[in-house]
């Protein structure tokens, strides 16, 4: 059975190379001989019934405004799908919108969908630069570029703890959030390219959802390890 990958708001929220996360998932299935199909789901498009893993990225403020209403309409469905085991990777803007709300500076609060127990407030400066974090998946590297400061509620656990960079809010040392198979993060890079173990974690959950019980064959990820090592050595 084919594994169906959904790129949510591929056209509206695709800045900072977030398409790369989709490319990584696709290739890592193809290289193992597992049939894969990618769906670009935009504003107004229904979520395919067969969806086994979902990826969403960051956007310009303008792009974020375009998707806000559409995303609000999808909130209950996305929460239900997550409860059924749908793995998701939500980066930057989509991570923020997956929380309870985004509070801009001197403007009305934007409601999120409440999929993750986090909330975000506009910060005084942009947090920009290379990030290294330690996580349950081992060391992670990426690049952050956000002005929103995200705070975790009691139901969320962080994806990792920063050793370089600011992460969620620059104050509590946390980066990203997890709930079940849903991962939210500020790390661009794209994250999955230099963290193949996270990609395979999402794909493992996707295979189970697709009714395939095989295990994922190991791939040669030496280049990813080398690129991650270099990234950790670069200036902020």
């Amino acid at each position: 059975m084919t594994v169906h990958v959904v790129h949510l708001y591929a056209a509206e929220m695709n800045i900072y190379g977030d398409n790369g996360n989709v490319q990584v998932l696709r290739r890592r299935l193809e290289w193992r001989g597992i049939p894969v199909q990618v769906h670009r789901v935009g504003v107004g498009d229904p979520l395919p019934v067969e969806t086994h893993v979902l990826v969403g990225g960051g956007g310009q403020d303008a792009g974020q405004a375009v998707i806000t209403e559409d995303l609000a309409g999808r909130g209950p469905e996305l929460i239900a799908r997550a409860a059924d085991g749908l793995p998701m990777l939500l980066v930057c803007g989509m991570y923020q919108m997956a929380g309870h709300y985004f509070q801009p500076y001197q403007a009305p609060r934007l409601a999120g969908i409440g999929l993750l127990d986090v909330h975000t407030e506009a910060g005084p400066t942009r947090l920009i630069g290379n990030v290294a974090a330690d996580s349950d998946f081992g060391p992670l590297v990426g690049y952050e570029n956000h002005s929103g400061l995200t705070y975790l509620g009691s139901q969320a656990r962080p994806l990792g703890r920063t050793s370089t960079g600011q992460g969620n809010n620059g104050a509590d040392g946390t980066e990203g959030a997890r709930r079940g198979h849903v991962i939210g993060t500020y790390l661009h890079g794209p994250l999955l390219a230099k963290a193949p173990q996270v990609a395979d974690y999402l794909l493992g959950a996707a295979l189970r959802l697709a009714g395939r019980d095989e295990t994922l064959e190991p791939l040669d990820d030496g280049l990813a390890a080398e690129a991650a090592r270099v990234a950790r050595s670069r200036p902020r």
Binding site: A10, A11, N14, I15, Y16, G17, D18, N19, G20, Q23, V24, R27, Q60, D61, A62, R126, I128, G129, N130, Y143, N145, H188, G189, P190, A193, K194, L223, A224, E226, A227, R229, V230, A231, R234, P235, R236
Partner: protein
């Protein structure tokens, strides 16, 4: 005071030359800090004023082309160092002034990046502002592409005679609303639009038929592009112009040059003749001979530019390709943008592909996910060029796609080699 400022700048330039460094922006820094209005007073005396060239990609080549075309009729002051900052402009003025503080020029053509263009126009009201494109680049510096467009809006609003805008880039076309003066439009024919995409169209399925018709009639339109000569419609006449700078993007930028030169009163045929005679800027499609091989440097510093650079090599695939990615401050620390470029065209190259620069490993990883085989990962640029030359046959052609700081390092490297000599590409 003008004489004092000029002497001060020239003194710094002289000292730099004595210690073996070239001028760059340092003389500008010294003069600017002493005398904030130096630039405005001096450039204000030019009878044909200042043309500012801005946008994300193609500023250097466009500025060079326009300065060369206008030099057929005028005495042109320009900032040829590629240092596209206000201080670079001050340096150019100091360099071109007599010791008595007089500028022996009719007009200036200045390359300014988006942020500095907005600052520059507060000091000097430009006669003309040319905006090429607004693409994603150095997001770590500018924050957002829409913010970049707002900066350009301020430059456009300051133009006193005309603005020259790209009708095919929606963010550039929208700048027309800021203009206080007439707009002269340049563009590409609808059939070429799938080649020349805006940033929002990078990942879209796109055919000429699926596009809405252009909203503005172009005064100058690129009708057909080929590596040997490009066809332009200027007004209602057609001109075939051979360009010596490689790359489809240079053919598009030349349309902006034609539009600006028309505004300065040059005739169509005069412009076409001068354009055919412009030597390419280094790192913008210029080639260098190294031990019997031709090395072409292609600046590729953001998704839009990289896409066109790859496209410009598709018809004549090189014997060896090198992708040199640095992540120094001037390049932008964030290399995520590499994932917004489709590298699958490199799969078809007949020769090996090498990656180089501080992020050579990242680049190799990127190519792996586009299933492009990578022959070697060589972070050291010297070593990478040596391996590329060794891998190319005698008389072979090597193309190096390179970010900004890697390009300047390669520039020094190739210039300093006794076995190499620079030459412009002739057809």
């Amino acid at each position: 005071m003008d004489v004092v400022s000029t002497w001060l700048g020239k003194g710094v330039q002289g000292s730099l030359r004595l210690v073996g460094r070239t001028g760059g922006t340092l003389p500008g820094k010294v003069v600017e800090s002493v005398d904030a209005t130096f630039l405005a007073r001096r450039l204000g005396t030019l009878p044909h004023g200042v043309t500012v060239v801005s946008g994300t990609n193609g500023k250097t080549t466009t500025t060079k082309m326009l300065a060369h075309v206008l030099a057929g009729r005028y005495r042109v002051l320009t900032n040829p160092t590629g240092s596209n900052f206000t201080r670079g402009a001050v340096s150019a003025v100091v360099d071109s002034s007599t010791w008595g503080g007089r500028l022996d020029h009719d007009l200036a053509v200045l390359e300014l990046d988006e942020a500095y263009a907005a600052r520059f126009v507060e000091q000097v009201a430009p006669r003309r502002v040319v905006v090429l494109n607004v693409l994603r680049d150095q997001m770590d510096r500018f924050g957002e592409i829409d913010h970049t467009a707002r900066l350009l809006g301020r430059a456009v609003a300051a133009a006193t005679a005309e603005v020259v805008l790209n009708r095919d880039d929606p963010r550039v076309a929208a700048l027309a609303e800021h203009a206080q003066v007439p707009v002269r439009w340049f563009g590409v024919a609808p059939s070429l639009r799938p080649v020349f995409r805006s940033d929002d169209e990078l990942h879209a399925e796109m055919t000429a038929e699926s596009l809405p018709p252009p909203r503005h009639v172009a005064d100058v339109e690129l009708l057909d592009y080929s590596p040997s000569a490009s066809l332009y419609r200027i007004g209602d006449r057609q001109f075939r112009i051979p360009l010596r700078a490689e790359g489809a993007h240079n053919a598009q930028n030349a349309a902006a040059v034609v539009a600006a030169a028309l505004g300065e009163g040059l005739s169509e045929s005069e412009i076409a003749d001068r354009l055919a005679d412009v030597p390419p800027a280094f790192g913008r499609g210029e080639s260098v001979a190294v031990r019997g091989r031709t090395v072409v440097l292609q600046l590729a510093k953001n998704p839009g530019g990289f896409r066109l650079a790859l496209l410009s090599q598709a018809e004549q695939p090189p014997d060896v390709s090198v992708v040199a990615i640095n992540d120094e401050y001037a390049d932008g620390r964030d290399v995520s943008w590499l994932w917004d470029v489709d590298f699958s065209s490199l799969r078809g190259t007949r020769g090996p592909v090498l990656t180089a620069g501080t992020r050579a490993a990242d680049m190799a990883l990127r190519l792996r996910y586009d299933e492009v085989p990578v022959a070697a990962v060589v972070p050291d640029l010297v070593g990478a060029v040596d391996q590329a030359v060794a891998a190319a046959p005698e008389g072979g052609r090597i193309v190096v796609y390179t970010t900004y700081t890697a390009m300047w390092r390669l520039h020094e490297l190739l210039r300093d080699r006794p076995a190499s000599r620079r030459r412009g590409r002739r057809r």
